[in-house]
Amino acid sequence: MSINPQELRYSKEHEWISAAEAGVATVGITSHAADALGDVVFVQLPEVGDSVTAGESCGELESTKSVSDLYSPVSGEVTEANEDVVSDPSLVNTAPFEGGWLFKVRITDEPADLLSADEYTAFISG
């Protein structure tokens, strides 16, 4: 059984990315990653217009116990940041695949090794 939505693709850094519409895709972290962090209390997102690079840090997620880098699963330009999650970081825990999305990106390049839902589920179970 997988709680990772089939329509998304996944990075090994535990980000998800939606199918692009008109070249723009939505990025978030998986529920597996959110569970591992614990209660997220602070989110720093890239700003609209920022260039992000696949596999490189573009923000931060802080939980009670730790601070983690946010990695972009693809390269491109940020078109929107989720201000709701900035003001209420607990959305990352309660709705990681929905209201807890982090930013939208106009994709210029994506790595070949993004995982399908089944591959990601196997990856985190392994």
Binding site: D39, F42, E62
Partner: protein, 372 residues
């Protein structure tokens, strides 16, 4: 060589509850069961149930047990009444803190020391060595007890439903033997959360019975299982020091603002006396750094080791513990800062959070004090 972490008698219970486990001082302990913020709030508002079986118990018995502890520790334990407990410390000859402890006087000639898991062996070795000249026996009882804590405003009501012991007569920092849910226990009114609560020392064979009974009796009162993550934020809000953070061998009790635990007027010598007398004088005349509270104006969390800065970026201290405070709704920290910047409200104080100087307000400790 690596050693597999030790498991408490409640290990299977934690796993059945779906706990996220963590290696803590060589023990595999529950970090949280669900949301650590919810667990924290339950202890402040209703009640929380903790497995603290990693704590290290050491029993000291004999006609001179009290005198041995007076020599080994900085407190005046021979003056402790039977049935009472005391927060104290054990120091090295140079005054450095080896551990902070709670000592319970179980009988005229019987004391129990409770040490931090990470320091239990050091404390056991030091107390054993220091007790040599006395008619007293030191016993390693780390495997003899499981420790279950019930903390929070509902904890007296929960415990009363499971015991005939006189809980109303049991004062803060007192302990009495009794029976809880049919299990023999040392019932102590102590804790590390800033709330009213109890710590129950029981045989490991009885731990699961007691845990399940407390879970059932506590359910109508809002009791939830709680992990070490919320224990840390609870004690931080209550301004309580944690060994390895606010207390280290490099600091004396006076450096930590806890000089009151050192009893110079007790009879006889004790390990560290000379060095501690000098430390007391220095702390009074010319304190190097002071332990203060910091409250964030922003939302980024200060972590242990982050530098505290003054206007212009001058480093004036270091964070020892930091976390988001569920009760205050803001990040908080404890930090040692130069005495000149230790006054509440000192302007221009910031914490260097990975290169960004975030403004922080200096406040007096604790951050939270319960209404009695």
């Amino acid at each position: 060589m690596t050693t597999a972490p030790r498991r408490t008698a409640l290990d299977a219970v934690h796993r059945a509850l779906g706990a996220t486990m963590t290696d803590f001082a060589g023990w595999d302990m529950p970090l949280r069961y669900g949301s650590e913020r919810d667990e924290h709030n339950a202890v402040r508002r209703t009640a929380g149930l903790f497995d603290l079986s990693h704590m290290g118990e050491i029993t000291v018995t004999g006609p001179q047990a009290g005198e041995a502890l007076d020599f080994a520790l900085v407190g005046h334990l021979s003056a402790l009444a039977v049935g009472r407990a005391r927060y104290t410390m054990i120091c090295a000859a140079d005054g450095g803190i080896l551990d902070d402890l709670i000592v319970y006087r179980l009988g005229e000639a019987e004391f129990m020391i409770v040490a931090n898991a990470a320091n239990a062996q050091v404390v056991l070795d030091a107390v054993t060595d220091r007790a040599k000249g006395f008619d007293a026996e030191v016993r390693d009882d780390r495997d003899g007890y499981s420790l279950i804590a019930v903390q929070g405003p509902q904890s007296p009501a929960i415990l009363k439903s499971l015991t005939d012991a006189d809980l109303d007569g049991l004062k803060y920092y007192a302990g009495l033997p009794g029976t809880v849910a049919g299990v023999s226990a040392l019932i102590a009114r102590t804790g590390y959360t800033g709330e009213d609560g109890f710590e129950l020392f029981v045989s490991p064979a009885d731990a699961e019975t007691l845990w399940q009974a407390l879970t059932e009796a506590g359910a109508p009162h809002g009791l939830v299982p709680c992990g070490l993550s919320c224990r840390d934020t609870l004690r931080l809000e209550a301004g309580m020091p944690l060994y390895g953070h606010e207390l280290t061998t490099a600091l004396t009790p006076f450096d930590a603002g806890l000089g009151r635990v050192v009893k110079f007027d007790k009879p006889g010598d004790f390990v560290g006396r000379e060095a501690l007398e000098r430390a007391a004088e220095q702390a009074a005349a010319n304190p190097p750094r002071k332990l203060v509270g910091l409250v964030a104006q922003g939302r980024r969390i200060p972590r242990a080791g982050y530098q505290v800065t003054a206007e212009g970026g001058t480093v004036i201290g270091e964070v020892t513990s930091g976390a988001p405070s569920p009760t205050l709704g803001k990040p908080i920290a404890m930090a040692y800062v130069d005495a000149a910047y230790a006054a509440p409200g000192t302007p221009g104080v910031a914490v260097d959070i990975r290169g960004s100087h975030e403004p922080y307000e200096v406040v007096a400790l604790p951050f939270y004090k319960r209404q009695r």
